[in-house]
Amino acid sequence: MSILLDKNTRLLVHGLTGAQGSFHAQQCIEYGSKVVGGVTPGKGGTEHLGLPVFNTALDAVRATGANASLIFVPPPYAADSILEAADAGVSVIICITEGIPVMDMVRVKKRLAAVNACGRRVTLVGPNCPGVITPGECKAGIMPGYIHKPGTVGVVSRSGTLTYEAVWQVTSQGLGQSSVVGIGGDPVQGMNFVDALKLFQADPRTEAVIMIGEIGGAAEEDAARYIADEMTKPVFCFVAGKTAPPGRRMGHAGAIVEGGAGTHASKVEALAKAGATVVDNLSEIGAAVAKKLGAPKPKAKTARK
């Protein structure tokens, strides 16, 4: 078991023929993901990377039976691609694109809510995220595949490279991941921490969850409430941005402390109170999980590829 993606996922890549789309789709295929086609308006009927290209998502879904979308479309058009994928009938949409205007995401969120209110179930992950991977089954994103290993630790994070850091520590401890979800660093996004925690809580394979947060917003505080009320599985947290100056956005549009809200201290306090293990030093998160789960022997450091 896993969350969001598994070996049966049929992946459609939006923006397949672009530089980013081509490169990362190739990586996903090499990892073993079932990529079934691409969407680039105007290039329908052609082939790219040995895959059929379609003009619209609807054409692609009808022809290939795709059930998940991976979006690399540039920021001015990405919001539209998300809605196109939802309308075409895929159930999981992963948007990698960085730099989508917030107001576009406000409109996307409203429409997706309307779609879900009609009874269909569409889940958006991102935007501005590394994607989702279920190790050994399906990689839909830009994360390096080899740092992952099939296992029982669920990982959810707002940041890309920080996720890799946590994943690598888990793998170096001889453990593996059930699924890894990058929810992205934008202020208005699809899936949030609580949504991911719910899926991990319900997933029989997942035994523990690592949650990597950062300053800004109140998603970590919301997650803390869910952890306190509903989670029976152990949760390990790190919150980045303890030393960030207020009022400056630290790379991610969402990572900003404004008017005393979204501070590191408030998040750490809420999570610790909820019963999560909060590590102060990021370098210790893998060891903390291993200690709890009773890890197999740590892999020797030289065994890296």
């Binding site: 409203k110 490279t161 920080l162 100056p245 005393g260």
Partner: protein, 386 residues
């Protein structure tokens, strides 16, 4: 991007927000004759800086005569302002706005913000304006009105009425207010703003509804559809920050002495935190980006070393798609081009890490390598203290 008060007011003008007539903006080097001060006073002279609390710091002055207004404007230019929002650093006043003043009968607070959780705009307002809304939210949360708004339909009539009643707007100004509130929301949506704030909105002694101040923060991601906005200078960014931005590097100057180069915003933030835990202070936040190449790495070094405070440089790269051997080659290349006189600590992890480390070891450059982020941070702190 944060807009200065007068820039925000120029935007407000387009939305018909009621304001006092402005006499012009004076910049350093301008003659005060440039100001178009006529009619009856009094006037108000306001320092154009991006920090709240400027009034208490001497950045807002009242003038009874035109001559006094010109004098005050001249004096205020070049003045240093420190407020609770400047983190102890003085801001230099480079522009001054002069406008007509009005006697204030009542002050109201109103803003449109992005409600991240709901994923929609929201109006925040209080019948008690003028003071810090954060303080009011803390001391008297019941005095704050909060209303979710649909971005596509804007503020609906009944919502505008609800706000007007909640804020106890006088009958005389009622329709004026509801129109103002709807226009403010429209401005927020159309400008792709993250914040539009009027603090205070006043009822003047002669019964007029007027926006006295403006604060607009726009969404950098939406600049592609606001060409006029994109052409304007970013008042908040330092010269180094602007230079970094122009070449696709995300850089924010900080107060410490350890220069940091990291890939990814989250890891960059975590690196600053780790440096602090190890007993040091970072000189900057720098995200070299996910697809950095030799050129980007070289430029990143140049930018970091422009800061004279830097006593050591910490490179922390988690190679994913970006391979460690490429990064290592970039570091070697950069160190040939840029004379790095301070100690250099490099932590590489991820794809092709062995090859990357070998390249660094063979290069003959003085580099301290580290196997983990924690080790790297400790080495950098020790090096900066030497």
């Amino acid at each position: 991007m944060k807009l200065l008060e007068y820039e925000g007011k120029e935007v407000f003008e387009r939305y018909g927000i009621p304001m006092l007539p402005r006499c012009g903006v004076l910049r350093i080097g301008d003659s005060s004759e440039k100001l178009n001060i006529d009619g009856a006073g009094p006037w108000v002279v306001k320092a154009q800086v991006l920090a709240g609390g400027r009034g208490k710091a001497g950045g807002v002055k009242l003038a009874k005569t035109a001559a006094e207004a010109r004098d005050l404007a001249g004096q205020m230019l070049g003045m240093k302002i420190v407020t609770h929002q400047t983190q102890g650093k003085p801001l230099t006043v480079e522009e001054v706005l002069v406008e007509h003043a009005a006697g204030i009968a009542r002050e109201i607070y109103i803003s449109v913000v992005l409600d991240r959780k709901a994923g929609s705009p929201a109006v925040i307002a209080s019948a008690e304006g003028g003071m810090s809304i954060e303080e009011l939210a803390h001391s008297h949360p019941e005095k704050i009105v909060r209303m979710a708004v649909d971005a596509e339909s804007g503020l609906l009539d009944f919502q505008a009425r609800q706000l007007a009643f909640d804020l106890k707007i006088p009958k005389k100004n009622f329709c004026e207010f509801t129109l103002f509130a709807r226009q403010l929301v429209k401005c927020f949506v159309e400008m792709d703003a993250n914040l539009v704030e009027v603090n205070p909105l006043i009822i003047s002694k002669d019964g007029r509804l007027l926006a006295i101040d403006s604060k607009i923060v726009t969404d950098d991601n939406a600049l592609f559809r606001h060409k006029d906005q994109a052409a304007k200078p970013d008042h908040e960014a330092s010269e180094i920050e602007k230079e970094a931005k122009s070449i696709g590097i995300n850089y924010i100057g900080l107060d410490g002495d350890i220069g940091c180069m990291v890939n990814g915003a989250g890891l960059a933030m975590a690196t600053l935190d780790t440096v602090k835990m190890a007993g040091g202070d970072a000189a900057n936040f720098l995200d070299v980006g996910g697809g950095a190449n030799v050129d980007q790495v070289t430029k990143a070094f140049q930018i970091i070393l422009k800061d004279p405070k830097v006593k050591a440089v910490l490179v922390n790269i988690f190679g994913g798609i970006m391979k460690c051997d490429n990064i290592a080659a970039g570091v070697v290349e950069a160190s040939k081009k840029v004379h790095i006189k301070v100690p250099l600590i490099v932590r590489l992890e991820g794809t092709n890490v062995k090859e990357g480390k070998a390249i660094l070891a063979k290069s003959g450059i003085k580099i301290e390598q580290a196997d983990s982020l924690w080790e790297a941070a400790q080495k950098a702190v020790a090096a900066a203290k030497r």
